[in-house]
Subunit: 220 residues, 2 copies
DNA sequence: TTGCTCCTCACGTCACGTGAGGTGGC
DNA sequence: TTGCTCCTCACGTCACGTGAGGTGGC
């Protein structure tokens, strides 16, 4: 190990610097707030300074990821941190929808749904559809109002498939390891890569549209 | 026009139904709140019911889009709605960065940046870099920590390029029209399509990862 | 001594949600 | 009369941000 390695603790400012590139909206006051809510419990120096260990930083990373990717409220995040092995309590929304419910909730018709199923955009489990199917159907319904058609949807699907494959490749070495928690770790990594790729994709499209004079508008 | 067309007004519940598919987190209380903040001003029926005209709904759509896509606070959205033609006041962040500032802010080194420029992921305007360059560099820096390499980035870039092209095609007919505000309308449409495609992409990747056992994690 | 980082605590703010107690049109 | 949609107003909540007034280590 080099002289720099094996730091046992980090000050709150250092923690901030480590997290900033991945979570641009983190702040010192936010970290302190998360502690006040009992979500992290860093050690303290004799003079009262917070001392974050790597495990604390991992915990912060998890919390920030859950907020950003899953829009989870802190109450729920806390529960999951506290009781990681309990089965997920049903979260209000039904996990599954019938075909009828899906059509109604998304506001699309039979033919559209059939088309989506043909393209592989929507899949069912037996006779049921999941929340993902609803999200897909809603996005497609909104897109169709702008005249976006099948070939665009196919392109999005193809890009999503390629990205999934790549993520699986990156994560594969982790999965080859043994031990408890390996799958959770792989899944967590996969999620983060997916989020970061998505952000990259969004920024690139935005920049290209701006260049074409189709950037963010200020309507009248 | 059919019997159903040419509705002059919509009740708040009908407005909600129209917006839900595109903005899943809208609610009646949110719409009422936006009115209380002076962002929309629907007419009233004699009995006090809010009566939204198409123009009011457009305005809501604009507000919700600005919140969702640009994370703008309502204060700023209100300013833009009130004074749509004023030049954008400098918004705190500098619009441009030097090369040095970009490297520091993103936490990457010279070679990485040179690579990003080679791939066309980052571009400069003269000697300056924009906020988009910073966002790209940050995302790439975070991705590299997970062992994601050049070919992944190239794939993301290619997908973003294809999507941009498709959006331009969809918007082209609008641009061919004449008249004031045509470009703004085209840009607004382009932005919405981009957002919806992004959401679709995200949902598809998420669903595929879940199927592969790499879905959202509950860490210990 | 001077910066610099960090601390607590009270209060403010932003964007809504909730619930009580109503009214109005088919 | 019965549902149903809609109304106001007060209060609550969630996730922080701000600012005053400090302390601690090189």
């Amino acid at each position: 190990m080099s002289a720099e390695a094996a730091r046992a603790y980090f000050g709150i400012g250092e923690v901030l610097a480590q997290l900033r590139s991945e979570f641009p909206d983190v702040s010192i006051s936010k970290i302190r707030f998360l502690e006040s809510e009992g979500l992290v419990e860093p050690a303290r120096s004799p003079s009262g300074y917070r001392r974050f260990r790597p495990a604390d930083i991992e915990r912060l990373r998890y919390i920030l990821t859950a907020q950003r990717d899953n829009y989870l409220p802190l109450r729920v995040i806390r529960e999951r941190l506290d009781a990681p092995d309990e089965p997920r309590p049903s979260s209000g929304r039904p996990a599954a929808l019938t075909r009828r419910e899906l059509l109604d909730a998304a506001g699309i018709d039979e033919e559209s749904l059939a088309e989506l199923e043909d393209y592989g955009l929507v899949r069912r489990n037996g006779r049921q559809y999941g929340q993902d199917a609803l999200a897909v159907a809603r996005a497609v319904a909104a897109l169709s109002q702008f005249g976006v058609q099948a070939r665009h949807l196919r392109a999005v699907k193809a890009a999503a498939d390629r990205e999934t494959t790549l993520i699986e490749q990156v994560v594969a070495p982790v999965l080859r390891q043994r031990g408890p928690g390996v799958r959770d770790k792989a899944a967590s990594t996969a999620q983060e890569i997916a989020t970061l790729s998505l952000r990259l994709h969004a920024v690139l499209v935005e920049a290209a549209l701006a260049e074409a004079g189709l950037g963010q508008v200020r309507l009248g």
